[in-house]
Symmetry: C2
Subunit: 415 residues, 2 copies
């Protein structure tokens, strides 16, 4: 008898009819003998409805994060209650827990809280009693009893954290796609579903804009070695297993997928003195403002001064630019320039560790399409480039073909 | 500097615009120097929306009370968050608390929980820090951390319980009426607003169907000697003070008001043996089913058998009838009869203690209108009768005139 943690997102519980379908699915799983902990998000649209109310009330002033969390947490509280009602109607013993009832202890960073600890005592007792436990995703409680939220997509993180705390056999993330693809099928119709992908690859794919899983949930899953599977909520299929072990498949391709992201903006502080401590002087205030920085590039200096470039989420662009202007004055830098007109494209794969020339093959494919590369950043299993946004689709398709990820052509493979 | 507890109902916080108006009002109060604890209900319509979802999910099976409470409690959690955002926007330091954060400890009777204890430590610290505290009405938490609700109208109870726990100087209930009237002005246009009314009278008025305040809140207020005032949310005025002391006004009228109620149903078990323990045998199972019984009448017996009649809420009529049928078989009674086609009319006033003949004056007024009395029940400050429902308005108007409660005629008082 296995212990499975399942997570259903907002679309999967977007109406009472869909909640009924999810309940049917859970009832079938439960009948097969597994122990189940189910994490659900708010009904789709609900979080936006609540944010809309908060904006109406708050006008130009941003709503206080503490009250916003208190309000947003109600979305999941409603859906866990409804799902348990649906399960009970189907004769399945079930019980609902919100974040503070478990409790899922987080830090106090409202709107983007981090899970510190999950108390498993009550949950284990409920499992022993044969109950399906339905837990509110996305939320927790800090040590002072304040209700916190983990930020958008936080329900995935809740599911993985619960799987880790309970040492579950598998954490299944149900979504509106049937697995992880070599790239976004809307951009490249020949994209293929992967049967498996390693945590490191998934992490890079997620961080590079693949929206299937929230990055923190993959980090968590890798760290606590929780086997993670992505599946479609309403279409049966094997999904994609995110594995611990990259050696499962001897025929591992060099590159597993092409990720991309148009949510970023680029900022450069040019003419900064090339002295120790400068990087910290620049990024310290950005980080203090809770702005996450993605790519950072600093090239060699000329005449004792250099240019410092980094990317942030587009939502943080104006805030980051303001901070940078301040830093520029302090450092006597030349100027601050920035643009939101960029896209990032990455090739990801553990296979590239043992294969030389992967980066140059990438650059060659882009050059062949006359796409200029603005920034380059590399890790052991990933090469990312920043290009002008309008070339994004072209670049992704070119790379997908160059790294032999295209689905075999239906007509020509009929031999 | 006084400590005031204020309660705003669902209509008063029914839209973000109204929440803004309530915030303006609170800001003015706070500016005048008083300490404020504000209790709010869910936005009007929200509780019904949630119940609707629960019904869609549950179909014919009633939703589990535990999950229903978990879900319904979200309504107030949203409105406290919104009100605090509105207050902060107006520069008023404020903080939101849901029932389990205070905590407001209740028993575990989901859907109709009773408050056992309010922990005041955190609230006192917030008041000392100069903050307006906004507390979710209607909800609490039991000793196992389960979220409970107090039942419809429970926000009044929350307000009074908080006022008692904090020893507040006054508990102000803001509503859509500007005070307590001698009777419902929709039925009797000449009904008058009372400047004050005693707790006992208010309790009888409330229990007899006056919807201004929830009966439990009045009980609480009387028990803990919390001065209670009913006021209009958006129209300034003195409202009605519910006083501890009936001797404030030497010119106390005999009758303070006429209350009525069409929510009840009547049940009779006829031909039951007139032996000790029978009343308990009949009402024990009814009470065990959590059905509240209002009037109970048992007259003298004939030939060792008697008829036992009581009234319940119309919603409980079918359930009570089923229970009574069972009891009837056990007791070998003659039959169970019942009807929902009744109304109850009561005259209420502490003045009747010292005035003989009040009941007969009531019966005379009803006889003059040819209204038949089906049941009679009396207390020290109240006489209630059950009549056929269609005569309700006629009876109320006749009694209002008979006890000299009518507003002076505008034209004839112009001398």
């Amino acid at each position: 008898m296995a212990l499975i943690v399942q997570k259903f997102g907002g679309t999967s519980v977007g109406s009472t009819e869909r909640i009924g379908q999810v309940a049917d699915k859970i009832a079938r799983f439960k009948a097969s003998g597994d122990d189940l902990v189910v994490v659900v998000s708010a009904m789709s649209g609900e979080t936006n409805r609540l944010i809309g109310l908060a904006k109406e009330i708050s006008g130009d002033t941003p709503p206080d994060p503490r009250e916003l969390d208190l309000m947003l947490a109600t979305g999941e509280q409603v859906s866990i209650a409804l799902l348990v009602m649906a399960l009970k109607r189907r004769g399945v013993a079930a019980v609902a827990y919100n974040g503070s009832q478990v409790p899922i202890i987080t830090d106090s960073s409202h709107g983007k809280a981090r899970i510190l600890h999950i108390e498993d005592r009550k949950l284990r007792a409920e499992l022993s009693a044969g109950k399906v436990i339905v837990v509110a995703g996305f939320q927790g409680v800090d040590k002072d009893g304040q209700i916190t939220t983990l930020g958008r997509g936080g329900s995935d993180t809740t599911a993985v954290a619960l799987a880790a705390a309970l040492k579950a056999d598998e954490c299944q993330i149900y979504t509106d796609v049937d697995g992880v693809y070599t790239t976004d099928p809307r951009v490249v119709p020949k994209a293929q579903r992967l049967d498996s992908i390693t945590f490191e690859e998934m992490l890079e794919m997620a961080s590079q804009g693949s929206k299937v899983l929230q990055i923190r949930s993959v980090e968590f899953a890798g760290k606590y070695r929780v086997p993670l599977r992505v599946l479609h909520s309403f279409i049966d299929g094997p999904g994609t297993l995110i594995t611990l072990d990259e050696d499962d498949n001897m025929e591992q391709p060099i590159i597993s997928g092409i990720a991309f992201n148009r949510d970023e903006a680029k900022l450069t502080l040019s003419g900064v003195p090339d002295t120790p401590g400068v990087a910290f002087h620049i990024l310290g205030p950005v980080s203090a403002a809770n702005i996450e920085v993605d790519m950072i590039v600093q090239n060699i200096s000329h005449d004792g001064s250099t240019d410092f470039t980094f990317t942030v989420h587009r939502n943080d662009f104006q805030a980051a630019r303001g901070i940078l202007q301040q830093v520029s004055n302090e450092l006597n830098a030349r100027e601050v320039v920035g643009t939101t007109d960029i896209a990032k494209v990455s090739i990801v794969g553990v296979g590239m560790r043992s294969h030389a020339g992967v980066a140059s093959r990438m650059f060659e494919a882009l050059a062949r399409e006359n796409i200029n590369i603005q920034m380059i950043s590399t890790s052991e299993i990933k090469v990312s480039v920043v290009i002008e946004e309008k070339y994004l689709e072209l670049a992704v398709r070119a790379l997908h073909t160059a790294f032999e990820l295209d689905k075999p052509d239906e007509t020509s493979s009929a031999d």
